[in-house]
């Protein structure tokens, strides 16, 4: 006769074995085709349960080597313009950076092409919330989103290193999305 304690022990063993096998497959970087197939097979269940973790990159295999910003040129129907910019991180205090950490993640991902589905809603949010300079509620005619970036140069032994916290003296820019009230789609 199986008692409750034996049943609990059996259940615990099932969870232990399942958890260890699952993280051994999911958290280890893909090693071969078979491993990747196992990862793919597990993916739906882990996604649904929220227990997905994938490989722990943590500044690996290569750390980022780019500093970025996003800006928006908001044109109102009366012909005026307002320039909106994402946070300037070096200007922020440690506490502000702490409280704005999610903004850091959001704008870092928003600029990427993989996040193109988020561009329209973000521009629409700006259209709803950014006032014209006059302060009078004015309809928005067009918004242009631009990404800005500075690459961190490869260090050279015979040259001074780039300054700590990055060099923001020159930014490259690319206008990547145009929003209008009439068409919510992208106009590249």
């Amino acid at each position: 006769m199986v008692n409750l304690q034996q049943l609990r022990r059996f259940g615990a063993n099932v969870v232990i074995v399942t958890f260890v096998i699952v993280i051994a497959i999911d958290a280890v970087p893909s090693t071969c085709t078979a491993h990747q197939r196992l990862k793919n097979a597990l993916d739906p269940a882990l996604d649904a349960s929220g227990l997905w973790q994938e490989s722990w990159r943590l500044f690996a295999p290569e750390p980022d080597s780019i500093n970025t910003r996003v800006s928006a040129r908001i044109q109102f129907v009366d012909g005026t313009e307002v320039q909106w910019e994402s946070p300037d991180w070096p200007e922020m205090s440690s506490w502000q950076k702490f409280t704005h950490f999610r903004h850091m993640e959001y704008f870092d991902k928003l600029r990427n092409d993989e996040s193109s589905a988020a561009w329209g809603p973000f521009a629409a949010y700006l259209a709803r919330t950014v006032p014209a300079e006059s302060g009078i509620t004015t309809a928005v005619a067009k918004i242009e989103l631009t990404r800005h970036w500075v690459l961190v140069n490869e260090p050279q032994a015979d040259q001074p290193l780039m300054k700590i916290g990055g060099d923001s003296s020159h930014w490259d820019s690319w206008m990547f999305y145009t929003w209008t009230p009439a068409s919510e789609g992208a106009v590249q």
Partner: protein, 354 residues
Amino acid sequence: MTNVTEQAVSPLQLAGLKKKWNWFFFESADPANCAIIRIGYSALLLLMLLVQWPDAAFWYSDSGVLPLSASRKLIDSDTLTVLAWLPTDASTIQLCYGLFILQAVMLLVGFKSRLQAVCLLVWLTSFHHRNGLLLDGEDTVFRIFAFLLAFSPCSCRWSVDNWLHRRLCGQDMPVASGSAWALRLMQIQMTMIYASTAWEKLNGNAWLDGTALYYASRLDDVFGRLPVPGILFNSLTALKLMTWTVLVAEVLLPLGLWVRETRRAAILGGIALHLSIEWMMNLFLFEWIMIVGLLSFVTAADLCWLRQLCVSLIKLPQSQHPVRGPVISNLPAAKATQTGKSVAANTDQVAAGS
């Protein structure tokens, strides 16, 4: 033909393996440690939720930057979020977020902790899947640890549940023998994080050639939390040495945390690594949740040892009273006495896995 014993033919025996398995998962883990993890975890979660509270509608409602329909295009279709089944307006999001905070508080004080852990996993998963553009490594740690806390006796100490039980029955909540196996899974999870990132880093040129910290220290968003010595970060040689130190530490930690002779050094080294990163970089709560995860390896004996180490370092007279670590009711050695020496002997057995 030489007469050989069965043991000499094969050192492996299924019965022995089963015994070791049961000892490792069900007999050697300290339930009190689960309570420490519960408190550290929920305090950090609460801090995270409070910091983000003003922005909840901005990030998660349809009046914010990412309506539900757009967010579903950005995330794997297998992911689930209860927020998809609720109204998407700001008021509903604020209400859900308020409940989320309330349940984090209840986990912190230890009221129906396992139920709270399950609910927190649902909330965490739902908010994470609602806006995937905000996610970072710490969010994964928070989700996995909520799952593991739900299986642990994390209310056994320092909790409202235990206080209520004491008032009703006059004694602490009984902790079922072998109930702390989830603590071992937390340790395995932590080991896997270090092993995985070490593996990834060993595949990266910048980590092998020593320039990884140069690049990280030139990022204007995450770097520069508190002042750092310029002499270290403006010298390529120093940057390379620091990069390789981090790499070696992360390669050694997965093993060092499990070896009897090195485990204390590994725990302290891991905590020092996370604190130094916290000093330099703005990675929100990642370093702190990793430190909480490392606490899963700490035993009562370790706390005694650390106290004695501190006392000997600052040369203060030692207390005449034995140091009281977390009370462990179901471990024979700890039950007998809580002095540093006897508990240390027990811990060494734990670490040795025998």
